[in-house]
Subunit: 72 residues, 6 copies
C-alpha cells in the first residue's frame, strides 16, 4: 500500500526511471514486507530553474560551475 | 481551508478536471463543513514512464498489455 | 492507479474520513474511469499552529475570532 | 535540512523564482537557524486547468473574469 | 539533490526506517549518479483510519479481515 | 492562490512557525503579487528517525555527533 514520490531535476532516461521503480519496490517488499502489487512509485521531475539549494537555483549554480551541484 | 492533491497519469480532459474539482469541493463542504471559498484542488499529471506500480512503470505495463493498468 | 492527498486541520472523525475516502474514490471511478482497487486516498491532518492563511496561523486566527476560519 | 515546496499556477519568471528561493532560504536560516547548504526549495507550477478553487478551475474563473483570481 | 518521500501506514521500526533510508539513497547514487550528501529521504506515517484503498479505510479493511491489506 | 509546504524535523516553537507563515506569505505577495488571503503555508514536522540524509537518519547522525546536522 505504500506510495513513494521521487523528486529530481529533469534528465533521467526511461531506463533509469524503470530501474528506480523496480529497486524501490523491491526495498519496500524486502524491508517492510509490503505487497508490491499496491506499491506505487511516482517520479516528479523539475526544471533546474525550479529547484533551489543553498539559496540559489540549480540553473544559477550550474551556470556558475558551482561544485554544489553535479554538472548535469 | 483544505488542500487536495490528485495525482494521476496524464490524459484527462479539461472537462473531466473541472468535474473532479467541483465534486471534491462539494464533498469537503458536505462531509466536513469546510468553506468552499478556501478549498483548493490541484491536479498533478505524470507521464506513464514516471509512474510505477508493482515494480514496473505504467509505460512498460501498457506496452505488455498488462491487466494491472487500464489500456489508456 | 490514482493517489489523492487530502490536507486538512485536525478534528475530523473516523466516520467523516471513511465518507471522504468513499466519496473521492467514487468520483475517480465515475469521472475518470479509474480502477477503484488501485485508488488510494490519504488524509493528512495538521495542528492549527502548523497551518497558515493570509499570513497568520489558524491557531492565531481562531484565538482572535477571525471570520476567515471556521470556529473549529 | 528543510525542504520547501511552493505550488503556484504557471507564469513566474526565472528571476522571480530565484528571488523566492533566496528569500525562503533566508527565512529558514534566520527564523529556524537552519543550515542554508542543506535547504531545498522546489517550485511546482500547475496549468490553470489543473488548479481549482471554490469548486471551479482557475481557467474557468479567469474566463469569467472572476474577482476570486488575479487576471494572470 | 533528490528528495524522496515514503508514505506508509504507521508501524515501521526505527531499524526498518534506517534500512529504507540507506537503501533508497544507495539506489539514487547508483542509478542516477546523485550525490548522497544532498539526498534526503523522508518517511511519512499515516494512521490506518487516514489511508483509504478501494473506497474504504485500511482501518475498516483490517477490521473486516480483508485480503486487500496485510494483517498489520 | 499559492500553497507552500515546509518540511522540517520537529522542534520549532509556535512563535517560529507563526514567523515563517508571515514571512513566506509576505514573499509570495511581494515577489509574485499573489493575494495573501488565498495563500496557504503548511508546516509538516517529522521525527528525526523519519528523516534521512546521506543515507542515515537524522536520529543516527545526531547520536554520532555528526557535523552534517545541527545538534538539535
Amino acid at each position: 500500500m505504500p506510495y513513494i514520490q521521487v523528486m529530481i531535476t529533469e534528465g533521467a532516461t526511461a531506463e533509469q526511471k524503470a530501474e528506480l521503480v523496480e529497486g524501490i519496490t523491491d526495498l519496500m517488499t524486502r524491508v517492510l514486507n509490503k505487497n508490491p502489487t499496491t506499491t506505487h512509485v511516482v517520479i516528479k521531475e523539475s526544471a533546474t530553474e525550479n529547484w533551489g539549494i543553498a539559496g540559489r537555483t540549480v540553473k544559477q549554480l550550474r551556470a556558475e560551475g558551482s561544485p554544489k551541484v553535479s554538472p548535469r
